[in-house]
């Protein structure tokens, strides 16, 4: 009887020990170690930072501005400044399923046209677009963090300058894209399953974009063939998706000026049922669907539940590389991620951060930073930056 008890106690000690050494210090002596806590998204991060469970976090907007405005943290390095340099790196993009492209290419082209216009409007009207975003996402209510309440309008105004709204895949964008694709291939390359020939997978369909571009000078839209079934479009509840919100809320403007609009069917603050109208004719009934992450949106699209989605670039790349039958159509928003540290931090640049990381690692108290999850855009960029800087990220 006592033998059983004694062996249980020994087992307990063994288990505890195994646990503490499971995340073993596999960092080589010359590399600085940083612990990454996967938070399954960015929502928990401000709270974790405020309660001292992490020293800082990597996230996308509006999480950086939330920290700044509430005073719990300081946004110290934007993602474009992460090595080796990620200027104009893609963040949110529009993806469409192969099915939709095969059957309704003209509709996708018209929709792309609307997106280009919406992005342009958002670029030219920063204040108005943040108002719309605040209204859509938060109903203009406040963000609450513990006991402090921050007006959402302030958060989005702070976030806005860090977001680059552009539909143009310029050189910097393409370079970043190649870097991201390479990172994703090495992440997803696993020996289970059949060997995927990553190099020969086509990620883009340039047709809608070029067709849409061609419509801009003349302003004449090629009316698409109407779609009988409902068009399902997924999106994320973050301010990166401002162009979509603008297109819906300002539908009258786009209708009158350009002849194309996403007209809400009801009066809801955050409409989900809309009509896509071209030259006064309804060409499709649209339903907007939200999801918590970009990966979820891609999986839903692969399962046939969505036709298009606004999601993060790396979930899209990953999904298509793993066999998803979709294509990237056009960029919508770039950059917009970064590193947040505590409010009294002296870090001003990535080099400062590396020095801090080395220092803490050498002292045996490595930095513990929040990470949205393996494979998110923020995560992929920071891992690349770590590689460049001789930092090793280990799971917390």
């Amino acid at each position: 009887m006592f033998r059983i008890f004694a062996s249980m106690i020994l087992l307990g000690i063994f288990l505890c020990d195994a646990g503490s050494s499971a995340q073993s210090l596999s960092a080589t002596e010359t590399q600085a170690k940083v612990e990454l806590l996967y938070c399954k998204g960015v929502n928990l991060m401000p709270m974790l930072l405020a309660t001292g469970q992490i020293d800082g976090y990597f996230a996308w907007q509006p999480c950086l501005s939330i920290a700044e405005k509430s005073g719990i943290g300081k946004s110290v390095v934007p993602s474009k400044d992460f090595p080796p340099g990620w200027q104009d790196h893609p963040c949110c993009i529009l993806v469409a399923s192969n099915r939709l492209l095969d059957d309704h290419l003209d509709l996708v082209s018209a929709f792309s046209y609307l997106n280009i216009l919406a992005v342009q409007w958002v670029r030219e009207n920063p204040k108005a677009s943040t108002e719309i975003a605040a209204d859509w996402l938060m109903g203009s209510r406040n963000y609450t963090l513990g006991e402090s309440a921050i007006p959402s309008q302030e958060v989005f105004e702070d976030s806005r300058p860090t977001l680059v709204f552009s539909t143009e895949p310029n050189d910097a964008w393409r370079r970043s894209m190649d870097g991201l694709i390479a990172q994703m291939i090495s992440l997803l390359d696993t020996s289970t399953g059949d060997q995927i020939d990553f190099q020969n997978i086509s990620l883009f369909d340039p047709r809608p974009y070029s067709t849409a571009r061609a419509m801009i000078p003349s302003g004449k839209i090629i009316s698409p063939r109407p779609m009988q079934q409902r068009l399902l479009i997924g999106y994320l509840m973050i301010d990166h998706q401002a162009p979509l919100f603008a297109a819906v809320k300002n539908w009258k403007y786009f209708n009158d000026r350009y002849g194309i609009a996403l007209k809400p069917q009801g009066d809801a603050n955050r409409p989900s049922m809309l009509d896509l109208v071209v030259e006064g004719e309804k060409v499709a009934e649209v339903e907007l669907v939200t999801a918590p992450t970009g990966q979820t949106l891609m999986t839903l699209m692969n399962q046939g539940c969505l036709d298009m989605a606004y999601c993060g670039i790396t979930p899209a790349i990953g999904s298509i590389l793993l066999g998803g039958e979709d294509k990237i159509i056009l960029p919508v928003q770039n950059e917009g991620s970064g590193l947040v540290l505590q409010p009294d931090s002296n870090v001003r640049s990535w080099e400062d951060f590396v020095a801090l990381a080395r220092d803490r690692s050498a002292k045996g108290r490595p930095l513990k930073l929040g990470d949205p999850d393996l494979g998110t855009i923020t995560d992929v960029i920071l891992q690349a930056a770590f590689n460049e800087s001789g930092i090793q990220g280990v799971k917390a």
Partner: protein, 253 residues
Amino acid sequence: MNRRTLLKLVIPLAIIMLWEALSIFIHNQFILPNIRSVLQVLLSPGTDIMGSGSLIENALMSLQRVGLGFLVATCLAVPLGVAMGRWEPLKEAFDGIVSALRPVPPLAWVPLALAWLKIGLASIVFIIALGAFFPVLLNTMQGVRGVKKNWIEAITMMGAKEHDLMVRVILPAAAPEIWTGMRIGFGIAWMCVVAAEMLPGTSTGLGYLIMYAYSWGQIQVVMAGMIAIGFIGIIIDRFFVSVERRWLSWRGL
């Protein structure tokens, strides 16, 4: 192959055939992958899966958490159960709160656990310990109360003190019930850990692996993970049963 074995195989075979047929019909690996892809994952359990570790690594993490939680629960529940079974006033005192807390599913405690114990091993172990605690407590109590009065009196007649009674009569007599409680408790703990790992704060374990694979649409990994979970659950249950058969089968005699 005798008849009994044949009977046992009929339904699993039918399911496998149905699965394969459906996967061909649906023809979408993101909805129902074919059996071969699931088997490929299962047959290479030591290979890393998209950067989140291998099946075996994650299974070990989950097992470690369950082991700890279960140990904590048992170390608390068995002594308390024995005390409550032996002394009626103690049972009366605790009855109310035990009955109130028991129906609350362990997962409902997650927000509080995260708030009080922070993200990390402690909060997960807390959830699992909660899951295992009540079956072990109740079965222990039952076992102690069910000890035949004659046994206790026979040993009392020999001049036994409470301590002797506890060691020589009550614990051995209640052992089968206690062991059953532990078996049930472990089963519940195993279910809790997988679900608890799906929530934020963990980056290892079978539950985490399943959610991560799902996020990339790798349904075959999801299914392989589920099969692994079921398999481990069965093995551990078999262990409990075999110990009972070997040491504790004097029960019905």
